[in-house]
Amino acid sequence: MFRNNYDGDTVTFSPTGRLFQVEYALEAIKQGSVTVGVRSKKFAVLVALKRNADELSSYQKKIIKCDEHLGLSLAGLAPDGRVLSNFLRQQCNYSSLVYNRKLSLEKAGNLLSDKAQKNTQSYGGRPYGVGLLLAGYDNSGPHLLEFQPSGNTLELYGSAIGARSQGAKTYLERTLQDYLELDDADDLIRVAVEALRQCLKDEVLSTKNLSIAVVGQDKPFTILDDEAVSPYL
């Protein structure tokens, strides 16, 4: 039977130049429930599908606020997401205390990248098992970033990570020109929710399983849950 000899740790390359542990971490994201992010010239929006383990349990929180101007949604291992969001909260806090400055999205992305990359090059550790979408509004406007456990952080106009996220990506690619110029935050949220719908199989979006966040000019990072999402269903 085939046995992979090069996936025992993160520090050993396979003969074909691959780091299997890092690739497996990327797989963990695909196991997580889907989250979609979009940005226009004025706003950035995150939407996510929340899951509950069984009928008696609560829904897993998918969107976390890090500062007044910055927040993230996650797909994959939620505990890892908690650690990384806490790290970003601290970095935002440090920046505002010491420099009276909002942490820029570019800097936030770089800090996450550096932190994740360390795990891919040190023995005994494991890569983070979570993918993040960062949405924020800084001095240079709204931004949407996608973070991966490999240490990659990319800026995008629209992105989706998690189970069956390809559907949302295809939808966003097709409608990019329409939502990029949207002036109204509510309209942009509707685009994101519609994109999220492309990823559903058996589920139906409801006030229970939909989570929304929006940030932009004169609009601090705001999370909408439960009844607050009903206008967008």
Binding site: L97, V98, Y99, N100, R101, S104, E106, K107, N110, D138, N139, S140, G141
Partner: protein, 265 residues
């Protein structure tokens, strides 16, 4: 007790023999904190006007009453719209200069918008310096300075003060040291409250600052005729003039003063 600072806190050699510095891996030097300024720079003065700020400081580095260094720059541009003016200990000032250089290097690293939206603003520079000053005082090891951060932020004049204690404040006109007593009353004739700022032109502001520098040169014994003056203007940007000179002084009365100095009559 042996009062040589290098021997503080050690048993006396007289009674116990030569002290073995390797004991407890002791540092060959005692830990020393700044107790007083050594080479010093005198006042920094500054004021807001409708389109920006002006700040000035002379170029003298005094060693007590000795004119030790006659060409020390005490105004430091940080980025494109901030100037930091520093008075007090010159070596501490140079340490602060290093910190400001580091801050700029850091900001330019991996920053796509370093030249525009994410360029350093005066309030960033000020908050950082205020933290440095307060943290050092809280370690009982202060940087012996008083600083003024002047600049333009989002099109509006910015002016704020911080000193060795970490005490901060802001006003339409600010001065450190002797300047707070001699120059500020003159500057406040022009801008006493924030509402006066809008009524003040660059020309009027520059005139008052130059006049105040003259008064300081007349009356402050540890001042020099040469000074630097920087203007951060919403249209002209940051202009630093390093060779300003106090002009139009009246010394005619001096020849009539009798009773001291070398006189033939």
């Amino acid at each position: 007790m042996n009062h040589d600072p290098l021997q503080w806190g050690r048993p006396s050699d007289e009674h116990y023999g030569t002290y073995n510095k390797s004991i407890a891996s002791a540092s060959p030097y005692p830990s020393m904190h700044t107790q007083q300024p050594i080479v010093t720079g005198t006042s920094v003065i500054s004021m807001k006007y409708k389109d920006g700020v002006i700040i000035a400081a002379d170029r003298l580095g005094s060693y007590g009453s000795l004119l030790r260094f006659s060409d020390v720059e005490r105004l430091f541009p940080v980025g494109r719209n901030t100037v930091v003016g520093i008075s007090g200990d010159i070596s501490d000032m140079q340490h602060l200069e290093n910190l400001l250089d580091e801050m700029q290097t850091e900001n330019n690293y991996d920053n796509e918008y370093a030249e525009d939206e994410e360029a350093l603003k005066p309030s960033y520079v000020f908050e950082y310096l205020a933290n440095v000053m307060y943290n050092r005082r809280s370690k009982m090891n202060p940087l012996w300075n008083a600083l003024i951060v002047a600049g333009l932020e989002d099109g509006k004049p910015f002016l704020k003060y911080v000193n060795l204690l970490g005490v901060t404040y802001s006003a339409p006109s600010l001065a450190t040291g002797f300047g707070a007593h001699l120059a500020l009353p003159l500057l406040r004739k022009i801008v006493d409250s924030e509402s006066d700022v809008k009524k003040t032109s660059a020309e009027d502001a520059e005139k008052s600052i130059k006049e105040a520098m003259k008064v300081l040169f007349y009356r402050d014994a540890r001042s020099s005729r040469n000074y630097s003056i920087a203007i951060v203007d919403s249209k002209k940007g940051l202009v630093l003039n390093k060779d300003a000179v106090v002009e139009d002084m009246v010394w005619g009365f001096a020849k009539d003063i009798k009773g001291y100095g070398t006189q033939n009559v």
